[in-house]
Symmetry: C2
Subunit: 304 residues, 2 copies
Amino acid sequence: MTGTDIDGKAIAQTIRTEIKDAVAELKSSTGKVPGLAVILVGARRDSQTYVRMKKKACEECGIASFGFDYPSDVTMETLSGKIAELNADPAVHGILVQLPLPEHIDEDAILTSIDPKKDVDGLHPLNTASLCSTSTHVGSTKIDWSDFTTIPFHIACTPQGCIELLDRSDVELEGKNAVVIGRSNLVGLPVAMLLMHRNATVTIVHSRTADVPGVVRNADVVVAAVGRAEMVEGDWIKDGAVVVDVGINSVDDATKKRGYRLVGDVNYATAKEKASQITPVPGGVGPMTIAMLLRNTLNSCKRS
Amino acid sequence: MTGTDIDGKAIAQTIRTEIKDAVAELKSSTGKVPGLAVILVGARRDSQTYVRMKKKACEECGIASFGFDYPSDVTMETLSGKIAELNADPAVHGILVQLPLPEHIDEDAILTSIDPKKDVDGLHPLNTASLCSTSTHVGSTKIDWSDFTTIPFHIACTPQGCIELLDRSDVELEGKNAVVIGRSNLVGLPVAMLLMHRNATVTIVHSRTADVPGVVRNADVVVAAVGRAEMVEGDWIKDGAVVVDVGINSVDDATKKRGYRLVGDVNYATAKEKASQITPVPGGVGPMTIAMLLRNTLNSCKRS
């Protein structure tokens, strides 16, 4: 068997076009324009690149973006003051603080100060708590985990993007064995919760797991989110399993002009021989993160 | 093999004696007396019994208890007002609202209005979020999952009691396969999180799981928290596994004077033949819940 690629780039583009249409429709029917505030602290090149990509993506779909850049020695007071102002601003439906923040800033305190309704990154503890709950309702609203656009709170973008990729690749999750490799707050844990809400039987594997290959071999769906280059070997993959590779690792490669290449947490070449479907790196999960950020911002505006 | 009983009644009694000593010590060294406020709404017999047991347990260990009873038609305003008052009262270190509440009361809103520091039932979303996080620190405090008395937030009592039983029965969790049957907010999910924090490899099984016996057969530790009488059969249990049975179900039994008997979610007789250790019902997990409530109240007072 040779698995089909799950083309995250194409799927993300489709979603961005859908969002663009929905934004236009929302504007013409209600006059509302979704707005995203993006806070950048310091001069990290990677953070600057991510922020630029996010603003550009907003622009392309008609979402207003408001950038606030601060030097790396910005005080907590200044950041908190800006967030309080954005929390109160009706033109702002999403507030994104690009991570990581400098050492002297209390990241948890900053994330917790964002109005959970505007926390389009889904990192506020109240949004985490809603994700990690099997309550059927939030207030009087019934939760329908099969349609993220109706969920009345914000789900973190990368985990949400993983499930969206599976949905758009017609992967059935109910009753399937799903194994998540990695238990990070940003990906592993929330993706495990989402798979559980979709009625998969979820196992969370981590650095202390005794027999990782053995557990993974039992999975119909594997999500690798551990940050170790090509750790998951093809012979760990059950025939016909679906593989979602969240890792983005750079490995030295003298044949490349820039001296390195990007690989996932999965050995793509060998896993592809066993999987029915697999996300490549790059071009798999990566492009979904921004698409989900745009969708969260749109949903936040609709609910406002 | 015939498994040993994990004697929850004896273990809970030991813990209550430890708490009594710690309360006396705290009082003599600091003058502080832990205080628990217990709110009871309506006239449910079971709720009245639980509240009485909790107050009596407080008294026995030197913890002050303050009871507030309301008729079943109490308003949200009255309850919220009382909670605000208790949040501000320095003599109150724990606030417990006995569940369930009547239909017209928004249970989530009430639980969320309790100061998370005084939420000794561990049901506030901020406490849930802390439990469902793999952050190594809360603020500057490093989290040590091996010692619940040092955890700087509140963990729900029954799940905490399950792990405490295992600890006091010398069950090693790190690297073991743990299967949790049931995904409730009150037990299944938090127990799964705790097992993960102890570095077990955790699988969450539920009503949509395709092959429950097959998954359970792979478990070194089984926690059953599903609320179905004797659902887990002995032949689902791996030889030498440890079984924690959280279920309390009444089944008709004409040979009993009261016409029923209590059984767990596990077929105790057949499971005991396979397990190395097993909690009986009653007398297993049950008595631990109040012991953990007392401990949370003590910890809350110490941190105040």
